[in-house]
């Protein structure tokens, strides 16, 4: 390696080190080039040609695919380059369903942004006619696909295949008939899509958007016969602020409680509370399985995309899946069942539970046949932010408030659920206590932390009074598939498998504010969660006083009781038949 690792950007000498491509070097230098298809966490595709630069002696190159080399003389805005970018924008706009005012992506759309920045006021080419609009696919609970807004940057195709190894979206046809479609031109609901929403999270336009429940929630809020209660998931608190120009990772939970009250929710609860509850049940289940020699490894069941993946692709492994409902799935029936006990005038049938989730798949979870009518509506972080904006609430100026009792308190173990590895870490903290009756001395299990691309599989061996327990944490289904292969081959040696479908876990969920152009955002969000964990009074789920109270007053005294089983556990179904693997 030579020492001289510098190149020139518009005459400015810039140092580079291990940046994978020229575009990253340009960004590091504080400059930027436009791009639709480049996403740092996905492989470079080089398709949109917006990031082209002119390099002396090399001509026009797409900077997202060009490896940095010492001595390169790069020009970012030459005539040739600008002509290409402007023409690309015009060509895309000519073929785009330009309904910007009513588009869900308006304001966040990269096509709109660059068209404005490059001053595209006139499109020379024949425009897409209304008759040519392709049918919209909104036949699933999570994602709306409008192919006429697709610019074929391929980010969704790569997200689906590189994150989930699942490839429910792919390119079809050739030439100007090229499209991105689910297999055989079906709907997303017919091709085993797990609704993780990562496709939508990387989409630069309105071609893939979240199916909104905003209006339905408003309707309930404004219905005086209903008691509308809300629960907020762990990772929402460290991401929502970004929609209001706060830093990623800034914990805004107090403001979120306040905003929810201003919006008119009757009672505010925290999914963190039921994350503690999940740990109680799941750690108990694990200890039972471990001591009785039942089916191991135990799979976590918090992630609905992961659950659906198993049901459609590997139903023979469903017996490994913890029967615990997810934290969302546990809190909703608890609220409906027990709120009337603590709050006067609350009747089970009048309670409407809304959850604020970082996740599009949670919308699907809410309508699972086993869970139907428990969680009534799921709003993603992004939708919740829209509601706050629409209600005219100045989020930044809100005074922090508290959640309602008795299901509001939570521990540090719960808050870290939002980052990949958090569930396993929390489970270890409590399982240790359940087996040994003692407390784990050091609760910071750093081996299980990390949400970057290098940390998609993490292994830990923990000694619980002579029994060594092996914990495997993975994020993305592509990574999970490897562990499943090991299990099927009989070569696996881990006892717990935590799976989160989104890369890095819920902090990077499909319902979170857009973060696809900067991979450090999810790391900052995760850090926000670990910071809260460090600062909380209780850091082990079994120490949560509200949890202890709930068990004592409502749930038969201890985890695994009959009533706990009835309310907090679920079943799964083999959905292999009719899945694309079956076809």
């Amino acid at each position: 390696m030579t020492d001289n690792k510098t190149l020139f950007i518009d005459g400015m000498e810039v140092e580079f080190s291990d940046e994978p491509n020229l575009l990253e070097v340009i960004r590091k230098a504080g400059l930027n080039v436009p791009t639709f298809c480049y996403r740092p966490d996905l492989t470079s595709f080089g398709a949109c040609r917006m990031c082209v630069v002119e390099i002396e002696g090399r001509g026009i190159q797409s900077s997202c695919t060009m490896p940095p080399e010492a001595g390169l003389k790069v020009h970012l805005n030459t005539d040739r380059v600008r002509k290409i970018r402007k023409t690309v924008l015009e060509l895309l706009l000519a073929n785009h369903k330009c309904e910007c005012l009513t588009c869900d992506k308006s304001g966040n759309c990269e096509l709109q942004k660059y068209a404005m920045e490059y001053g595209i006021t006139d499109i020379r080419f024949p425009k897409l006619e209304k008759e040519d609009y392709l049918p919209v696919d909104d036949y699933n609970p999570s994602i709306v696909r409008d192919p006429s807004k697709c610019i074929l940057c391929g980010a969704c195709v790569r997200a689906c295949s590189e994150f989930q190894g699942h490839s429910v979206l792919g390119f079809v046809n050739r030439g100007s008939n090229t499209r991105i479609e689910p297999m055989n031109g079906r709907f997303l609901s017919q091709v085993d899509c797990v609704f993780c929403g990562q496709c939508q999270a990387v989409c630069p336009t309105g071609a893939l958007t979240i199916k909104s429940s905003i209006d339905a929630v408003w309707e309930k809020i404004n219905d005086s016969t209903k008691k509308v209660v809300v629960q907020i998931a762990p990772s929402v608190r460290v991401a929502l602020g970004e929609e209001f120009n706060l830093e990623p990772g800034e914990n805004t939970i107090g403001k979120i409680y306040a905003a929810a009250r201003r919006l008119g929710f009757d009672l505010i609860f925290d999914t963190n509370f039921s994350a503690d509850l999940t740990i109680m049940e799941e750690a108990n289940e694990f200890v039972q399985r471990l001591t009785k020699g039942e089916k191991l490894p135990l799979f976590t069941s918090c992630c609905p995309a992961w659950v659906r993946y198993l049901e459609t692709q590997h139903p023979e492994l469903l017996s490994h899946l913890s029967t615990c409902k997810s934290p969302q799935g546990m809190l909703s029936p608890v609220l409906k069942e027990f709120l009337p006990k603590y709050y006067e005038g609350y009747k089970k049938e009048d309670i409407v539970v809304v959850s604020i989730m970082p996740c599009t798949a949670k919308k699907y979870e809410a309508i699972r046949e086993q869970l139907i009518n428990e969680t009534d509506f799921v709003l993603t972080t992004k939708e919740f932010a829209k509601m706050i904006k629409a209600a005219g609430i100045d989020f930044r100026k809100l005074k922090e408030e508290e959640a309602n009792s008795p299901f509001g308190q939570y521990t540090g173990a719960a808050t870290i659920f939002g980052a990949s590895g958090g569930v396993a870490e929390a489970a270890v903290r409590t399982a240790y206590n359940m087996v040994t009756g003692e407390e784990l001395s050091n609760v910071d299990i750093k081996t299980l932390r990390g949400v970057d691309a290098k940390s998609r599989t993490k292994d830990l061996v923990v000694d619980i009074k002579g029994t060594s327990v092996k914990v495997r944490v993975v994020s993305t289904l592509k990574e999970a598939e490897k562990s499943l292969k090991e299990i099927k081959a009989g070569t696996s040696d881990f006892h717990i498998l935590e799976v989160m479908a989104c890369p890095g876990g819920c902090v990077n969920g499909g319902g979170q504010p857009i973060s696809c152009s900067d991979s450090s955002i999810k790391e900052k969000r995760a850090e926000g969660l670990y910071e809260e964990d460090r600062n909380l009074e209780f850091r082990r789920s079994h120490q949560n006083p509200d949890i202890i109270k709930l068990y004592n007053e409502c749930l038969g005294g201890k985890p695994g009781s009959e009533i706990a089983h009835h309310l907090l556990h679920t079943t799964y179904s083999d959905k292999f038949k009719g899945s694309y693997k079956d076809i």
Binding site: I60, P67, T178
Partner: protein, 620 residues
């Protein structure tokens, strides 16, 4: 470097093979390439075999062997029958002609004149290849054996020095030397780009040590080009030998031949050739007793034009959609399955064995300063002789069109020649005398491409030609990058507008500007070259575009939208027949009075024109 001791003596093998051929007696070569098979050559072969059974009783010959060969290149004149011992080439032979050839020529030594080629200039019957103008000016190296040997016999390949070059390089055991020879020969990629082959090998060889691949690009997609198919069908062993030498040079032990599934005969013959070569240990493990091993697989492509682009081809072999990937990284560093990969075109590899045998100097004598050796072209269009030809680099278009091609067909006037298929460009009379090589053609606005040569007369509309090729590239674009996918679509729309008679002058500027952006901004070679037909025709035939736009006229009389069917009132007798046959009721008039065509209603079906008993209706 220590020489390798081979467990085979190629001289002995060649002698054995030659004896085998000698024992065949009178060899009757019947072309069994795809073109001739379509013309019925299999029946011709059967008939010859049937008659040949009694050859020793009926004729002076003890034995006669009918040899199905690969393509002779002169497909238009198929079925071709060549009897080398009699120095005769028969053309357009049908099953019913075989008996006459046998009776008259083989039995009684009287050549059948009516089945000989007729020279379009002298109108004389010409007996053999040496005298047929189509062959006389050709120099066949890549195609040397095509049409002369039984493509399905490894012995016949060995008899013409097949695998001798491979034995030589393995014995000498100096891979760098092989690369140096190829580099020195000046061989450049025959797939179109013209990248120096030796340099490509060197880049790949720099990554020796781990797993590497050799890939043969046989995804011949240019409309009308069939040189790669001819080599694969006619001389598959030469291709395998070329691949083996390349693999040896770069240190690969596994190879793929990517052939389009539309080439079933090529696939069948390659499969047999691979099997035969493996049996003789020319392929497989420890070739000829050395440490060098090579397994070759065939990958059938689904026929996408873009899969001829090397990174798309790699994606296709890997089972992905055939979409190009940006370079760098180049396949030499990160290719098939992420491993260093050498990709060469069929014709390039077919040139390798002869360079090893005859030396770099022999090869580099042929051609021009920057382009060495010979190049095949698929000659077609308005010339007398069409087919596959191979000429030294630097041959002029005039020689090809007027000597090999036998001049313009039906006395038409030469107008232009489209070189290099959809990626190439249109050249004109002023280019007829430039020596054709990679660089001269690029300078003129065309490219060698795969070697398609379409000769056009003044009856060809140049705007329509540009539209035709743009339509092709638009449909074959993989759809990945915006300039190619959307740009070619809009280029096509403008061209369609012009040929429909609806063009405006500003369209020409837009056409040119967009063409430059597509060329500049596209991801792969397909998009970068797709505008060439537009740009070259705009450069050399702008008048014709303007005629379409301003005068609403197609000078070649091709574009139907510009045509006008009119009734000459002086000749019209008012018989009303035209009005009765008109399907859209566009003709008005009363009996015995001149009729008139309402141009707004007319759909230009010409039904009136063909039915007018007085020839009063004409096309304007």
């Amino acid at each position: 470097m220590e020489k390798t001791k081979l467990n085979i003596n190629m001289q002995n093998e060649q002698d054995k093979a030659k004896d085998l051929i000698k024992s065949q007696g009178l060899r009757v070569l019947v072309c069994a390439g795809t073109g001739c098979v379509a013309n019925g050559s299999l029946k011709v072969i059967e008939k010859f075999k049937e008659l040949g059974a009694n050859v020793s009783i009926l004729t002076q010959y003890d034995k006669m062997t009918v040899v199905p060969t690969g393509c002779h290149g002169f497909c238009e004149q198929g079925v071709l029958v060549v009897i080398p011992d009699m120095k005769i080439t028969y053309v357009k032979v049908k099953e019913s002609d075989v008996e006459e050839i046998f009776e008259s020529h083989i039995k009684n030594n009287k050549p059948v004149e009516r089945l000989m080629y007729v020279d379009p200039k002298t109108h004389q019957h010409v007996p053999d290849d040496e005298h047929i103008n189509f062959y006389a000016k050709q120099t066949r190296t890549a195609l040397a054996n095509c049409g002369n040997i039984n493509a399905e016999s490894i012995d016949e390949a060995i008899a013409v020095r097949g695998y001798e070059a491979l034995a030589k390089v393995i014995e000498e055991n100096n891979p760098d030397n092989v690369i140096e020879t190829i580099e020195k020969s000046g061989l450049r990629g025959r797939g179109g780009g013209g990248f120096p082959t030796g340099r490509k090998w060197k880049f790949t060889a720099a990554n020796r040590g781990g797993k590497s691949y050799i890939v043969c690009n046989g995804d011949e997609g240019d409309p009308g080009a069939f040189m790669d198919r001819s080599v694969m069908e006619g001389d598959p062993h030469k291709l395998l030998e070329g691949m083996a030498i390349a693999a040896f040079a770069i240190g690969a032990d596994e190879g793929y031949i990517y052939v389009r599934a539309e080439y079933p005969l090529a696939i069948k013959r390659l499969r047999k050739a691979i099997k035969d070569a493996e049996e003789r240990n020319f392929l497989g493990k420890n070739i000829m007793g050395s440490n060098f091993s090579l397994d070759i697989h065939i990958k059938e492509g689904a026929g996408a034009f873009v899969c001829g682009e090397e990174t798309a081809l790699i994606a296709s072999i890997e089972g992905e959609r055939g979409m190009p990937r940006p370079k760098p990284p180049f396949p030499a560093n990160k290719g098939l399955f992420g491993r260093p990969t050498l990709i060469n075109n069929v014709e390039t590899l077919a040139n390798v064995p002869v360079i090893i045998l005859k030396g770099a100097d022999w090869f580099s004598q042929m051609g021009t300063a920057t382009s060495k050796g010979t190049k095949t072209f698929a000659l077609t269009g308005d010339v007398n002789n069409t087919g596959l030809i191979e000429v030294p680099m630097g041959t002029t278009l005039r020689e090809i069109i007027f000597d090999i091609g036998g001049g313009m067909r039906d006395g038409k006037k030469f107008k232009a020649v489209q070189i290099g298929g959809p990626s190439g460009g249109c050249l004109t009379e002023e280019h007829l005398d430039i020596p054709m090589d990679y660089d001269n053609l690029i300078r003129a606005g065309a490219m060698v491409g795969s070697g398609g040569l379409v000769v056009m007369s003044d009856k060809t509309c140049i705007v329509e030609v540009a539209r035709f090729f743009m339509n092709f590239t638009q449909h074959e674009s993989c759809g990945k990058c915006v300039p190619c996918r959307e740009g070619t679509k809009n280029l096509l729309k403008i061209l369609e507008k012009i040929v429909a008679g609806k063009g405006e002058m500003k369209d020409l500027d837009e056409l040119e500007e967009l063409a430059h952006v597509v060329k500049d901004g596209s991801l792969c070679g397909l998009g970068k070259t797709a505008p060439n037909p537009v740009l070259s025709t705009l450069k050399y035939f702008k008048d014709e575009y303007i005629a379409h736009i301003k005068d609403k006229k197609c000078p070649a009389g091709v574009c139907t939208a510009m045509k006008k069917v009119v009734i000459n009132e002086d000749l019209c007798r008012g018989c009303t027949k035209c009005a009765r046959v008109c399907p859209v009721g566009a003709i008005e008039g009363t009996v015995k009075n001149p009729h008139h065509i309402n141009q707004e209603k007319c759909i230009k079906c010409e039904a009136c024109l063909t039915n007018c008993p007085f020839r009063a209706i004409v096309l304007e």
